[in-house]
Amino acid sequence: MTDLVLSRRRFTQGLGIVVATFAWTTRSAIGQAPPNLPFSLRNNRKLEGWIRLEPDNSVVIFTGKAELGQGILTALAQIAAEELNVEFDKIRMVSADTTRGPDEQYTFGSQSVEQSGAAIRAAGTETRAILLAAAARRFDLPETQLKAMAGSVVATDGRRATYWQIASEQPEILRREIAANIVPKRPADYRIVGQSINRVDLPPKLTGRASYVQDMRLPGMIFARVVRPPRYGAKLMALDDTTVRSLPGVVAVIRDGHFLAVAAEREEQAIAALNALASGARWSDDGISLPDMSNLARELRQLRSETSVVGTAGQSEPAPPDAKRISAEYVRSYVSHGSIGPSCAVALLKDGHMTVWSHTQGAFPLRGDLAKVLGMQNSEVDVIHTQGSGCYGHNGADDVALDAALVARAVPGRPVKIQWMRDDEFAWAPIGPAMTTKVEAALSSEGRIVDWSYDVWSNSHAMRPGQAGGVNLLAAWDLSVPFTKSPPPRIPQPFGDGDRNAVPPYELARKEIRNHLLLDTPIRNGSFRTLGAHGNVFTIESFMDELAEAAQLDPIAFRLAHLKDPRARAVIEAAAATAGWSAGAKGDGWRGRGFAYSRYKTIGMYAAVVVDVSIDRNSGIVRVPKVVIAADIGSVVNPDGARNQLEGGIVQAVSVTLKEQVTFDRRQITSRDWAGYPILTFPEVPSIEVVLMNRSDPSLGAGEGSLAPTSAALANAFAHATARRIRLLPMTPERVKAALA
């Protein structure tokens, strides 16, 4: 943690600009913070802002992080119970709620255990120490004769008091700022952290108890839908809403500029009204010229860009002239989040106060942008995180929250629920940007990489609400007084944006890595799980195999020859051993095996992946029977939860690699349902073996690190099987057949 905090300070201060780092933290906030204070405590110092002992003998833990299906509330409750010495089932979690609880900005980047976990650990440790000290005064005993256990302080003479008794007698003791000067438990003493405790949210979800914002039902609630334009950039020229207004149940038609919505008493009435309203709307022929899908690499490189060198070494000396030079170019297509449940929100304007229930990843930043668009003060708007379908990044969650608020503003006193239709989500949510890369390296006669040159072209993968210089909410751009999008942020390494993981993890004496941040944004861009790491690791790890082949070396041996970090070497060796990697094994034309390694965000979790493929050369269908991953995520809070995340990332990566691309013609997005955007199905999912390294180092988030190396290892397995390489994702049957022809 210390390293992470210090490096963030250095980056921010060094650049002297408002830096959109991982948490878009402002300089002033960082300037006030004492050193070594866990990141999330810096702006949230009040102890009772994190932990409260409730009269019903429970403990409420407040976190600014949101449950997205990744099991974070369970993991954080484990950390709290551990440090407090209370039973796990005494903990209740309150999450990402602007009416109460800390502002931890966004739930993204696999940082929840690292950030919120560190804060809750510090707050829990401190609370336990305060209660022990108070009990010492109460019993008039030295603390050495007291022990905190199972929610009580027990004295050696047999006297005891529960935490709740102590706190009710001396309520002022917990009303203070967190000093964070008490050493937390040693990992060796953990009883709850490190256990595979079952997710607290699953029994309700698996039995149909209201769990999601989609399940909210408020008295007097109405349903609304938004008529989106036929394409990006089209303007609402004329509207005939007479038919709509006569339809049963219609409560209101809302038009503001090019934003058009309808509200009705019943959900199916709102959908019928949506269709009628769409027929009555006439849109201009305006549009944004979209790239030619058949040549994304060329199209992306033609966009305006801003180039920066994000990694360099050894440039003062020329590259050895006699080295063998090899180069290649790679492409990853545009990717949709593909949430199974389209985005949904509930909004209510009552007595001048707007409350929005949303599955946003950033309740506080969203609140700020909603207030801006609605012309209200932050204090007049609240956002309460309420779970939704898995998002895997920045999907339509924030946009539908504004949609609902705009409709709610037109019908004060009535709660409004909007769930986007399937095509809204596919066509209008932010999309993971396409990326293209070019890499050139030089190999010495001994098979060492002596030069490395790398370029990545990509739009920003970070266009969330709360960013400076604009408003990143879909409807805001269509209002009669429109807001503009933020400019893309400049996120420095090691986090990066399109250049996340663009700097190879290998020991390279001479290298230069350039990021070409694309400024024109034909396709609406946003964060998809891993940001640019996916395209960069796909490139780097594919190319490492190409280099190993040129050097006539085993791909794993070749990587190890360029790696010193013992944790990196350990995961690679563990994956190789578990998979039974055999150096020099040959593919037989239809079966093969591939390897890849990466350390997510350069400073996050380590992963080494072995993928097996089998290829039907006639149909071009690639199957993945088996994936092995070895992962080092530091100290593991919940092993089964971590495995679930790693497995899920692998399945999603196989899906993205083999099948997924947002499709469009030159005018509009054409993949608007699951037939147009197929994902991996049950019969196609590989069996997965996870090896979790057992370490006591600080925890590293497990939510994203398995994806990128899986894609690269799959591509390498294909090349191993067929001696042909596909450098363009997805590896559709057509492309496979073309590669094998």
Partner: protein
């Protein structure tokens, strides 16, 4: 316009147009949460319920067509306090992440186990081939269905 339907063993009067997709009746008139809106096109399976022993996509089934049938949703299988064997197995295997697709998957698994008491992994995967899961919990789901089959055979 009132329609009488039987859901989870209870007879209910519903005041909705006969062409209303059953999904909205279940969710909004009867307050059930199991069936979810996913696509409205019968492509994803999130809205699946059991009607007359068959798995049905409720987003694409009008109310008028279920008047004489028995509808079972996730809630009809069991509760937090008294979960069905399948629900217990899904909890034991932690066979969900966001859980949004899982209701439809459990209903499909119920229909499978009603017809095949001893399915192998292939049978399970094929029975769930039209159900989409985006979190990637497929292998856990298959284990959970197998576990439930073993439990039910006892």
């Amino acid at each position: 316009m009132s329609t009488r339907i039987t859901v989870n063993g209870e007879s209910r009067m519903v005041d909705a147009a006969p062409d209303t997709p059953l999904l909205y009746v279940l969710r909004n008139d009867l307050g059930l949460n199991g069936p979810k809106y996913g696509c409205g096109l019968g492509q994803c399976g999130a809205c699946a319920a059991i009607i007359g022993g068959n798995l049905v996509r409720t987003c694409s089934m009008p109310l008028r067509d279920v008047e004489n049938d028995h509808v079972t949703t996730l809630e009809g299988l069991g509760s937090v306090e008294n979960p069905h064997t399948l629900q217990k197995a899904f909890i034991a295997e932690q066979a969900a992440q966001c859980g949004y697709c899982t209701s439809g998957i459990i209903m499909a698994a119920k229909v499978l186990l009603d017809r095949n008491r001893n399915p192998d992994d292939e049978d399970i995967k094929n029975a769930l081939a039209d159900h989409l899961c985006r979190c990637g919990t497929h292998n856990r789901v298959v284990r959970a269905v197998r576990r439930a089959a073993v439990e039910l055979a006892r």
